[in-house]
């Protein structure tokens, strides 16, 4: 019992340290989470093949083939246009910045009251553009680490489950495995839901921007889709560079059109995707989602907002699990005391006995 309590105390301490480190270095946290997510995806794909009778070497070969085709497809149709559009944006940036400055001066000439806010608007707009691009860059830059983590996990796929359960004391093995299964299930479901949501929002934005004639539609689609992972403030950060680019490339008409595209995207995301996906996959009330996200934003900023819901779900499951565990400990102690007293009084005598073959070899 003492050993288990010490294990729990050490685990909580390590988890707390780990949590603090995660909040401090959230880019690393996203890489680790992404690595696990990638592993789950590959694991699920391999499972899918195995269910259809393709297992072992052929399954891995087909997976590598599919991975290569996807990678080539993404490179040709997404990465190359994405980097071309980014390069083109960087090349045009001085000109665009100059145009923006000019437009702002014209605006303050028309509305003199705005003059005192001119510097503030300039600084905030440029800061938003930089923040949006840097956040997107960080997310994409973590891809290599994610792949590495996923491959390390895949290498021990067959024994991962066994290795994980080895440290749990026998007496609490059954209850611990059940709780951990629930936690993994919840996190996995949340990750899948978020991924599907991000993909759909990215496609919606990219297609919408392309339809209204906004240049670099794919770049802005990806930026908008990825930043949408950050609840509430993500779409706002993403809207600033899109709005500036739309205004500079096509004036008020394109600005309004791009804002309409983003508004439609957000409407679909908030009313259909989030309601359907998150509630389908994660058992958290929508109001709780809002409150938890706001609290997490105060405590841990952007990283907190991204991981607030899975962390809340895990905490909820752990609390219920810990309560059940404490109840079990109490009950076990009573049962052991009763058995000890029975053994003292009735050594070797059984009140009732069922023939062993009943449990046996039929």
């Amino acid at each position: 019992m003492k050993r288990f309590q010490t294990t729990i105390a050490v685990s909580i301490f390590l988890l707390a340290i780990f949590g603090i480190l995660l909040f401090k270095f959230w880019a690393i946290a996203i890489s680790i989470a992404g690595g696990f997510l990638l592993y789950f995806l590959i694991d699920k794909t391999l499972d899918w093949f195995e269910r259809r009778g393709v297992k072992g070497l052929p399954a891995y070969l087909i997976l590598i083939l599919l991975f290569s085709i996807t990678l080539i497809g993404l490179t040709l149709f997404v990465a190359i246009p994405f980097f071309e559009q980014t390069e083109s944006l960087i090349a045009e940036f001085p000109k665009l910045a100059e145009n923006f400055k000019q437009e702002l001066s014209d605006l303050t000439a028309t509305f003199p009251a705005l003059e005192k806010y001119q510097d503030n608007i300039k600084t905030k707009a440029l800061a938003s553009v930089t923040k949006a691009l840097s956040l997107t860059g960080t997310m994409l830059g973590s891809a290599a680490t994610m792949i590495l983590i996923a491959f390390i996990l895949l290498a021990s796929r067959q024994t991962l489950r066994q290795k994980f359960t080895e440290g749990i004391p026998n007496e609490y093995f059954e209850v611990t495995v059940s709780i951990v299964h629930k936690i993994i299930n919840e996190v996995e479901n949340f990750a899948v839901a978020k991924m599907v949501e991000t993909l759909i929002v990215t496609i919606l934005y990219a297609f919408g921007f392309w339809a209204i004639g906004l240049p670099m539609s794919l770049l802005f689609g990806v930026v908008g889709g990825l930043l949408n992972i950050i609840p509430y403030i993500g779409p706002i950060i993403a809207a600033v560079p899109v709005a500036i680019a739309a205004y500079l490339y096509g004036g008020y008409t394109l600005l309004i059109a791009s804002l309409i595209v983003m508004a439609i995207g957000q409407l679909i995301d908030n009313t259909i995707l989030q309601t359907w996906l998150i509630s389908k996959f994660v058992d958290v009330h929508p109001l709780t989602v809002v409150i938890i996200t706001l609290i997490a934003a105060e405590v841990a900023g952007v990283a907190g907002m991204v991981i607030a819901i899975p962390v809340y779900s895990i905490a909820k499951l752990l609390t219920v699990g810990l309560y059940d565990y404490l109840k079990s400990v109490k009950r076990h102690e009573i049962l052991l005391r009763e058995e000890e007293s029975y053994n003292k009084n009735n050594a070797g005598r059984y009140k009732h006995k069922v023939k062993p073959h009943v449990f046996g070899t039929h």
Binding site: R51, R161, N170, E339, H357, H362
Partner: protein, 157 residues
């Protein structure tokens, strides 16, 4: 070549486990493919003599099959203790956990150092969902054995 294949795809321990599973009461009628699928959903566990697998009243989450050792199933009611069975290699217990969400009806204690393999409810549900044929076969086996146990208990009353 076989060693490399084993290292990546099938550890020798797992091959041994599959052979042992084929000798158990519950899994002896399964074919090689079914045993392979099942192995991925099982958890191996070693217990020392005197250790409890579970106590009566615990939430049941898994069925256990004995690959080595002995397990005693008993229930304590006030000052009376009923020993239902002393189970040996190849036998299984805790199957009600797969069928019902009720607490454990009896305690299981290891009486000889044991190697048990656990099939958890969530894994069993996964088997039923993804491999309905195997799930159906396992359900039929468990159902038959439960029926036999029930008739044996009735006979003894």
């Amino acid at each position: 070549m076989q060693a490399i294949y084993d290292f990546i795809f099938e550890k020798p321990d797992i091959r041994k486990l599959k052979n042992e599973l084929k000798q158990t009461v519950i899994f002896k009628t399964l074919d090689n493919t079914e045993i392979s699928i099942l192995t991925k959903h099982l958890t191996l566990r070693q217990f020392r003599k005197g250790e409890r697998v579970f106590f009566e009243g615990d939430p049941g989450a898994a069925l256990f099959v004995i690959l080595k050792g002995e397990v005693q199933i008993s229930k304590l009611t006030g000052t009376k203790k009923a020993i239902f069975a002393n189970l040996e290699k190849g036998m299984f217990f805790g199957e009600l956990a797969l069928a019902y969400n009720t607490p454990r009806t009896a305690s299981a204690q290891v009486t000889q150092d044991a190697l048990l393999v656990g099939l958890f409810k969530h894994d069993f549900e996964k088997i039923i969902k993804h491999y309905p044929m195997l799930g159906n076969k396992l359900l039929t086996i468990i159902n038959n054995i439960l029926g036999q146990r029930l008739s044996a208990v009735i006979d003894q009353l």
